[in-house]
Amino acid sequence: MAHNFKNDVTVDWCPGCGDFGILTSITQALAELNLNGNDVVAISGIGCSGKTPHYLNMGGVHTLHGRSIPFATGVKLANPNLKVIVPSGDGDMLGIGAGHFVAEGRRNTGLTLIIYDNEVYGLTKGQAAPTMQLGEQTKSLARPNVFGKVNPITLALSSGYSFVARGFSFDMKQLKDLIKMAVMHEGSAVIDVLQPCPTYNNVNTMEWYRQRVYKLEEEDKNWDPVITPGNENQAEEKFQKAYTKGMEWGDRIPTGVFYDNRTIPSFTKRLNEFVPNYLDYPPSQQIVTGKDGYTPVDPYGTFAEKLI
């Protein structure tokens, strides 16, 4: 029987919160992928979003604000066999953790980043998140937002992520499919999830989004963001298309897969070229004890050049 990814921990998000839809999409996606509870882990940061791992029946680490990405990278590097999903806030990943977000694009370790994009800092009572539009005023702001917004899609593209998508927490079917694709993608994937926060964001509400979202592949029957091995020459054009679509915001908001480049080797593959036997015998599987209970490592052989 398929593993049940939902557990019985009480969920304490506000009624009507978009986070519920993301949680359900995650559990369905993992179940449909026929994964087991020990095949996949969730590593989150801090925020309303950061509580997600506690609601999942699988290994879950609710880390520090902004640091979900490096924690998750460590897990994946030490055990590349694990699927690692990172459900975290927009403040978490694009504000305090923005440096890690950019660095992970360059690494392409093989993580699934799910950005809970509610344009606010939910858990600290509604301050502006880095994703909020300049001049927007949600209900807990004393005056309109004085900062410009960071665009998760174009930032992800420029940072080098090899899979970039957008979902909407109230379209769970699409979101579930995006998560499945992202989890199976070899490199690092970003899914920007439009997530209404009914408690603090009275501007970008569920209705507001419903009126604006459309699907890239429905709008353009020829939309094909995928670059497969052998077709590396398509990368530039598809990247530019993705970028242009990524800029679109306002009356119409595109969702779906913007970019899916399967030709960029993951960090784990790159490491495998240098670290002997890395993928076969990664750090987490290595036996570090010799048969007598002492080290099996020979300092004389390993550091021979230091012998005089």
């Binding site: 924690f71 750090p283 987490s284 005089i308």
Partner: protein, 631 residues
């Protein structure tokens, strides 16, 4: 033989190569060399030098005045004005003599001002010639050598300056009386048998030896000792070797002096080899080294790896360690086994980026907000770096907490000759789980020791959170669970204090009762042990309370030792006598006298000896003697 040498030149000018030649040449003749590298935070041009000591026995400290100064540039003469004494031989290029202090732009402005004051005060001109004459007035023996002519006589290809380091080393070795064949052997090793380079440099060596003997500089032949195989390594190397032996399989780092060398060394040895009999049993594997985007990432990425059952660590220095504070707190709260090797340099802020310091002790004990258990241990010599790195990884696994391993910059950049590396000194217990735990409670309170079973991502289903948590690892704010989990975490420190052998916590060197009881930690261990012998010769007995573990703290042992002490002198490389503060906090014992140094330079035997005698004799009434040696 007991020879102290300072060999200096511009940063990037081959000083390390020179020292390497000297080290290897003496090693070939069976001698031991111990050295420390001093350098500016600069890539090219500013003064850098190596301070070396050569002896039949393994030296463990350095001394001023030196016996030989080798100046590969004019600045070296100015910078080391005060490091000469009666009989110090000063080797330099004759062409430096006309160099003017005012033109020495790479000397720090205040240093130049002080040199000028010294020379003016003693009525010597502000030139290298004046400086050499000043040194001569203090007993130094100038040995100007026409560097260019000697190189020219060797017919070596390329600009003469390329060979100055070989020349300087060869002259030094000739003055020391070392047979030329050893020097040539060293050249072969240093240039890893690159035939042409070796040939050119060998000719320079021969020319240098020829010049020295024709001009009466060559020393009387040194006796050749039995040569034994040894490791020529630094503190950085030691820690890297220990980590690899101790099962480290993932290291993260963000570049910073003096820590990154450790990670570079690990990366260079990402493929390790097995001891006899293991090759057939174990699969070929490697260690993963990751250069991260910052130290926050370094400390958290290492933890991610640790959660999969991997022995993981990171290495950093003050500024990076400051950034790690929150992450270390997570490891404490969530019981994640990680090792943070903290290479201490002069702080605060960017401070003295390439200089020594021991001012992070209190910070290491208190890094991060809130209260959580950690182990803080410190090494005092290159060998200790090896075995302590192994122990640190073991402690992290056994007690599931962050272990902070303190190594000071001086030790990181100390070069030592280690007779052997004992693979059987520190056991490496296997912690890898093969069977998942059913009904797993990661933070189970059913434990006497405070230690609960470790969870492995990929094997067990469990949860973790930096919030206070229940036994399953879910968020809780329940008052009783909070109290229980706090007590569980801290219980591990009591367990550690009981389980860790006292010798790994603190050591008493010397007699039980003594006229002077020194207290120290880190790289002053060696110099103080030498000072104890010097004092003995003068009829003063001394012992040393050497601290290795600061958390948990061996209060009982320290109380016992200090309770018997007549005169306690605390010796540290910081301004606030931090170890003495820790002792006071844990035992109530106040230490009245301290010898402290915070100018960033290594402590030397002579300066500690003088300060200790001044305190002992009552000549100095100061509570604190501040040491100032070092260019």
């Amino acid at each position: 033989m007991d020879l102290n040498v300072a060999i200096g030149g511009p940063q990037g000018g081959g000083i390390d190569t020179s020292s390497n030649m000297i080290n290897r040449a003496f090693a070939e003749a069976g001698y031991n060399v111990f050295g420390v590298r001093e350098y500016h935070s600069n890539i090219k041009g500013r003064h850098s030098y190596n301070h070396l000591r050569v002896n039949e026995e393994r030296p463990r400290s350095l001394r001023y005045p030196v016996d030989i100064i080798v100046a590969l540039d004019a600045d070296t003469i100015f910078e080391h004005l005060e490091d000469v004494g009666p009989g110090t031989k000063i080797i330099y290029d004759r062409s430096f003599e006309s160099s003017d202090l005012a033109q020495a732009r790479m000397i720090m402005r205040d240093t130049a001002r002080r040199i000028k004051e010294t020379l003016d005060g003693a009525k010597f001109p502000n030139t290298v010639k004046g400086a050499v004459d000043y040194m001569k007035s203090r007993g130094g023996i100038p040995m100007p050598i026409p560097f260019n002519d000697v190189v020219a006589s060797a017919n070596a290809e390329g600009p003469a300056a390329r060979y100055f380091n070989t020349l300087g080393s060869a002259v030094t070795l000739s003055i020391a009386g070392l047979d030329q064949k050893f020097t040539i052997e060293a050249i072969k090793q240093v240039f890893s048998n690159k035939e042409k380079v070796v040939a050119e440099n060998v000719r320079v060596v021969e020319a240098a030896y020829r010049y020295a003997s024709e001009n009466g500089l060559a020393g009387k032949p040194l006796k050749t000792l039995q040569k034994k195989k040894r490791f020529l390594i630094t503190g950085n190397d030691g820690s890297a070797i220990g980590k690899l032996m101790g099962g480290l399989r993932l290291q993260t780092y963000y570049p910073i002096t003096p820590a990154s060398d450790e990670s570079t060394i690990l990366e260079e040895h990402e493929e390790y080899s097995f001891i006899e009999g293991e090759k057939n049993r174990l699969k070929r594997g490697g260690v993963v080294v990751v250069q991260t985007e910052d130290e926050i990432s370094a400390v958290t990425m290492a933890q991610g790896a640790a959660l999969t059952g991997t022995r993981a660590s990171t290495a950093t220095s003050g500024p990076g360690f400051s950034l790690m504070a929150e992450g270390i707190g997570f490891a404490g709260m969530d019981e994640v086994p990680i090792v943070v090797t903290l290479y201490q340099r002069g702080g605060p802020s960017t401070g003295l980026p390439t200089r020594n310091g021991q001012s992070d002790l209190l910070f290491a004990l208190n890094t991060g907000h809130g209260e959580f258990p950690r182990i803080v241990l410190s090494s005092g010599d290159v060998e200790e770096c090896i075995y302590d790195a192994m122990k640190a990884l073991n402690y992290a696994q056994r007690y599931q907490l962050p272990v902070i391993h303190l190594i000071d910059k001086n030790l990181a950049n100390t070069t030592d000759m280690i007779p052997d590396i004992d693979t059987k000194r520190v056991p490496v217990p296997q912690t890898l789980k093969t069977v998942p735990s059913s009904d797993f409670h990661r933070y189970s309170l059913k434990t006497e020791t405070g230690i609960s079973e470790m969870g492995i991502l990929g094997k067990d289903i469990f949860w973790m959170t930096g919030d206070e948590h229940d036994e399953l690892g879910h968020v809780t704010e329940d008052t009783e669970m909070r109290d229980s989990q706090m007590r569980k975490r801290f219980k591990k420190l009591e367990t550690a204090l009981q389980e860790i052998p006292i010798n790994d916590q603190a050591i008493l060197y010397g007699p039980d009762k003594a006229d002077i009881t020194f207290v120290t930690w880190g790289s002053q261990k060696g110099p103080i042990l030498d000072v104890m012998e010097d004092l003995k010769k003068e009829g003063i007995s001394a012992n040393l309370l050497y601290l290795k573990m600061f958390l948990p703290f061996p209060s009982e042992f320290v109380k016992k030792v200090l309770g018997k002490a007549k005169l306690i002198i605390d010796v540290e490389s910081n301004m606030l006598a931090q170890a003495a503060m820790v002792i006071k906090l844990n035992t109530g014992i106040s230490i009245e006298k301290s010898i402290l140094k915070y100018n960033g330079r290594h402590m030397t035997e002579d300066e500690i000896l003088k300060a200790a005698k001044d305190i002992y004799s009552g000549k100095s009434k100061n509570e604190i003697e501040v040491l100032q040696n070092g260019a």
